[in-house]
């Protein structure tokens, strides 16, 4: 048995396990026995559960980061054009900081520095922070990608003709109303391809959450290969997993782009 050890885990048993494992467990077990290729996550119940949990954590992490980063971008692009100098300089500083420093350093900074400064509660004998590693990963990656999204949305906003905004003003729109109903919907269509790119990058960058022990796919793969010494196999799984996720994201974004196409425009 190539299984080294998992602290406290029961030995592998897929007889009573998930139905999926029953389906292909034998095949991968046999594959290992005959060729040495150890896809342990596909025949070992404990590793399988770990793998499935990692899929969900990764998807949740990605969705949270995407949404947060887009919100940061939308609000940031609006703030960049604000009348208040403080707000504009603040935005410029924010973008410089997050664009010019490595995202991995940012994650570590958020988790270990800011995490120590934020409130915690007594979780039965030890202090548990209100914001855990998952929360800090979302916050730091969201701000990181949000800095790029801000610039992407700004480029879209600049592509909206001044005269269109003027028409909105003439109809009594405030700056905010004009941004929400006219400028942003147009800008968004213009910058969708660039946004698409950045979100693909963000999706892949979520693997850095590994550095603060968020049990996402990268972290879990590392755990699995530490326990089972099957690095090449887990690498293959990692590549296929992320290729698949990016394909789904890109497909969705293209669908979205198409559905927003305006007849006779652009």
């Amino acid at each position: 048995m190539a299984r080294l050890s998992i602290a406290g885990a029961a030995p592998a048993s897929f007889e009573g396990g998930g139905s999926l494992l029953e389906l292909f467990g034998d095949f991968f077990k046999q594959l290992y026995d005959t060729t040495g290729w150890n896809f342990v996550i596909f025949y070992d119940q404990v590793e399988w559960d770990r793998f499935i949990a990692a899929i969900w954590t990764t998807i949740k992490l990605i969705i949270a980061c995407l949404i947060f980063s887009v919100i940061v971008g939308v609000v940031g692009a609006w703030a960049q054009g604000a009348k208040s100098k403080l707000l504009r300089y603040g935005m410029a500083g924010y973008i410089q900081f997050f664009r010019n420093t490595p995202p991995f350093v940012q994650i570590l900074f958020f988790y270990f520095v800011l995490g120590n400064l934020t409130p915690s509660y007594d979780a039965g004998g030890y202090q548990e922070a209100y914001i855990g590693s998952f929360g800090w990963a979302v916050i730091s990656l969201g701000f990181f990608a949000g800095a790029f999204n801000t610039e992407i949305f700004r480029s879209g906003i600049e592509a909206v003709p001044e005269s269109t905004q003027e028409a909105a003003s003439a109809l009594g729109y405030t700056r905010l109303q004009s941004y929400i109903y006219v400028v942003f919907p147009l800008a968004f269509r213009v910058c969708l391809p660039a946004l698409n790119n950045n979100l693909v990058n963000l999706l892949k960058t979520t693997t850095l959450a590994y550095g603060i022990a968020v049990p996402e796919m990268m972290y879990t793969a590392n755990q699995v290969w530490s326990d089972n010494v099957n690095v090449p196999e887990m690498m293959i799984i990692l590549f296929i997993f992320y290729v698949g996720l990016v394909a789904i994201l890109v497909w969705g974004m293209h669908r979205w782009e198409k559905s927003m196409k305006i007849p006779g425009y652009g």
């Binding site: 003709p161 028409a167 003003s169 109809l171 009594g172 006779g264």
Partner: protein, 255 residues
């Protein structure tokens, strides 16, 4: 309450739009050098003049798209040259149509018309829809409700733009060279729409190069050159008995 327009003691006997000694510069370039004119309720006036004479700048000042450095613009008694100007209040009273239509390209014709009353005036959606439907018929675009601006011709887009502006129930309409970007055939359909409005008693201020049209619909014509009003008068006297040499020269080139 929100529908009641603030009038500051203004009555329809006073000019609806009163422009007095307006000065406006862009940097060092002074484009308006003391312009004064009055427009009474129900009047239609045309401002004509060579390019760069400040015509468009002048009417853009009326709804505060441009600010002015000196002088006074009263719209129904509300001072436009006021740092505390309530722009929303002003823009409820003043509608504007642009040379390049400036429709919202991501919205259909009917949505373009309905957006501002719903967003800005917070009117009831069903009432706005009804009003918009009547406006689109008024500008003779029944059947084009669900077309996007990019699917309409220039003349059709401009008529949607007029309807969009009318949806706000303005008291004054500003037309800034609204036919300048159109081909000769579609110019007419837009002019007919404006003429209908003028005949219904809408107060209109037009910047135009359509002399025949100005002659037909305007109560009063103003000729501007180099930032001042050179000459003005009712169309009959203006076109036939212009006195100023600059006016004569301009008219001889254009007529």
């Amino acid at each position: 309450m929100s529908d009641a327009k603030k009038t500051n003691g203004w009555t329809p006997r006073q000019p609806m739009v009163s422009i007095k000694d307006v000065h406006k510069s862009f940097g060092d370039l002074e484009v308006l050098k003391g312009v004064s004119l009055d427009v009474m309720k129900g009047e239609c006036i045309c401002i004509i003049g060579p390019s760069g004479s400040g015509k468009s700048t002048l009417i853009r000042c009326v709804n505060a798209l441009n600010d002015i450095q000196k002088g006074s613009i009263l719209v129904e008694g509300q001072e436009v040259n006021d740092p505390d100007l309530d722009k929303l209040e002003l823009r409820k009273k003043v509608g504007m149509v642009f040379q390049q239509y400036n429709l919202f390209p991501h919205k259909t014709a009917i949505e373009n018309i309905m957006m501002a009353p719903i967003t800005v005036l917070k009117q009831d959606k069903d009432e706005v829809a009804e009003h918009a439907a009547s406006l689109i018929r008024k500008v003779r675009l029944g059947g084009k409700e669900n077309s996007y601006p990019g699917e309409l011709s220039g003349g059709q887009q401009q008529r949607v733009a007029i309807a969009r502006s009318l949806a706000m129930n303005p008291d004054v309409m500003l037309f800034d060279e609204v036919t300048a970007a159109l081909d000769p055939e579609t110019v007419k359909e837009v002019l007919v729409t404006i003429q209908d409005l003028a005949e219904e008693g809408m107060t209109c201020i037009l910047v135009t190069h359509e002399m025949g049209f100005a002659n037909e619909v305007a109560n009063h014509i103003y000729f501007t050159d180099l930032g001042v009003i050179v000459e003005h008068g009712p169309p009959k006297t203006f076109f036939k008995k212009a006195k100023d040499p600059r006016t004569k020269e301009f008219l001889s080139q254009i007529l």
